[in-house]
Symmetry: C2
Subunit: 366 residues, 2 copies
């Protein structure tokens, strides 16, 4: 057999109601002056921003708030915020929200720490440290609170791309109650993103018994939250499961990375402004179908774990929850060419990917 | 439901054949001068000591070897070795072997770092740092390579006790091939210790969905290695599973701690020189039986996961692999009194423990 397994989860995770309040001293211990990085509205609406402010204030830790992180933050915005942080002497960064502010927090922490560096270093393969980062997730898909990834919009090459540096948060404070304020569409989209993480990590050349354990546990939880994904407001227990599955998916892809559906998604988000979860989800049935060439029994088993008796039922679930995306011939060609350039996504797929495979994945639901 | 979950695995783990060689640079990066802490014979016989020496030499890292760690190392021995380390300027510690040298490595790393402290601080509740620690396990029970625990013999109070400080190793290099050289009795005893970790963590007041995931995965692996536990020399795949289950058990008890069987075991080891695995294992059937008061369906389910169709079959397996221990009335009284003093072990049990419960656990197999 010859197992080769790495297992690395450097982030300390607390999942509980009032996680920020209960672990305020650990949060404050990360530094003397925090930069809080969040979006315009949701962290105000769901109480997470207030919880973080209270936690820092109670421990007499200074903070500055930047609350204008855009959806799919750009390299340009990272540099704007990092320059603010550099001038005011920030020594740790707290991301609050979905993947956008949490990923931004990591990239900003890197650029503040490396105070004389320009944006070029974000995508260079040189080892660099970052300021300590804490994350407070308020959606249930990205898993960014436990991953080392920071995916930014690169206008220079018209897509989204993960920075070269791996920045694990020190602390993830996961409070399921914030989800109660999230719009149904956000829960649907982000829970489908989680599904992508779990599936793309489970069927992955880098999968190990450790990562499969995380995925299997996450998929069993995911199977219990179909109702919330269909738009029914989740109760406390469902919120817990949504967040738990999301963190497990994040831990899994921290080891394996994602595969083709994520690789295909960046075009849809960049060019057609389709939310990340939907942009991933529309390719999941096709990806599973492409795996049946070599892994039919495993695909059938995993669909059952997820609560779907057949591929058809899974396809219907995806169509009903996030809909489909029709791609023109020209778009299919563009996505295919873009994907064939992302070597690490191709290498993650446990079969040899052909253009025909990609075509089928892109058009499977239609 | 109100989940309260902490998940913390600060140790980076590599499990693979040639783990030490393959990650020699990461091992050497922990410092400039290593103290290698091991026992007299096994690390020489199974090649692990040579692998570590080669790894350090190849990276021009200095080292000193202390190869006289005793079984169940005492506080006195820790101080002897720490004083050697203090005088020669050690800046990281590598433990090689079973639980004894690996636990010793942590306590020694603590005492070298706190160079002016006496042995009293080992059992004081004051926050102290330790030197970086790496662990190379060569048995399959302790899980010490991923736990923050260091259990030492305390001659002053005639028992074994975990030090007050939590010292997570930075690096665990888990190479299953070392197990091939282990005597059958060592594999049996340590794999039964792993079973104790998995069961005592699964049924535990501090258990969470995270720790149950680790235990469930570990128990499924454990079910596949009955033959090795019965004394049949394990092949490569069995060695992998033995080590994997052991690390999973370690991660689980890092969060929950152990419960009554471990609490009962210390007397047997200190007073009767019974190996740790056997000293734990003889109380596992009784502990499971005591849990059926409130958790009968779960106990039956878990026995099935472990590959036992009934409690009787499990008891027979324990009798056949490690035998039993007859306790005199006087000994039962002593163990009971000792156990009633270990508040954290009692608090870990998911029912209110009475003296009758303890009596039944101590005598169940006879």
């Amino acid at each position: 057999m010859g197992l080769i397994m790495k297992f690395e989860i450097p982030t300390t995770i607390y999942q509980e109601v009032n996680a920020v309040k209960n672990h305020a001293s650990e949060l404050s211990a990360l530094g003397k002056k925090a930069l809080i990085v969040t979006g315009k509205n949701s962290s105000k609406a769901n109480g997470s921003l207030k919880d973080v402010i209270d936690a820092l204030s109670d421990n007499k830790t200074e903070y500055v708030i930047y609350n204008k992180i855009e959806e799919n933050p750009s390299v340009e915005q990272i540099m704007v915020v990092a320059n603010i942080g550099r001038t005011i002497g920030i020594d740790f960064v707290i991301g609050i929200g979905g993947g956008s502010p949490m990923d931004a927090a990591k990239a900003i922490a890197l650029m503040i720490k490396n105070t004389d560096s320009s944006e070029q270093v974000l995508y260079q393969n040189i080892p660099l440290d970052a300021l300590p980062v804490a994350e407070v997730p308020t959606t249930c898909g990205t898993g960014s609170e436990v991953t080392p990834f920071a995916i930014l919009t690169r206008h220079d090459i018209h897509t989204k791309q993960s920075i070269s540096h791996r920045i694990f948060p020190m602390l993830a404070l996961v409070d399921p109650k914030y989800l109660k304020q999230a719009p149904a569409s956000v829960i649907t989209n982000t829970a489908i993103d989680t599904l992508g993480h779990l599936l793309e990590s489970y069927f992955n050349t880098k999968a190990t018994d450790y990562t499969k354990m995380l995925c299997m546990c996450g998929m069993k939880e995911w199977a219990k939250i179909h109702d919330a994904i269909r738009g029914i407001t989740p109760n406390e227990e469902a919120c817990e499961k949504l967040m738990f599955a999301s963190s497990l998916g994040g831990m899994a892809i921290s080891h394996t990375s994602t595969a083709l559906p994520h690789g295909c998604s960046y075009y849809l988000t960049y060019e057609k402004n389709i939310p990340h979860g939907k942009a991933v989800g529309v390719f999941l049935p096709g990806y599973l179908a492409s795996l049946t060439k070599e892994y039919q029994p495993e695909v059938i088993q995993i669909l059952k774990v997820l609560g779907f008796e057949s591929m058809e039922i899974f396809c219907d679930f995806i169509r009903q929850t996030i809909g489909t995306v029709e791609l023109k011939e020209e778009e299919i060609r563009l996505i295919t060419n873009q994907l064939l350039e992302i070597k690490e996504k191709l290498a993650a797929v446990p079969y040899t990917v052909t253009e025909t495979d990609i075509f089928k994945i892109l058009t499977y639901l239609n």
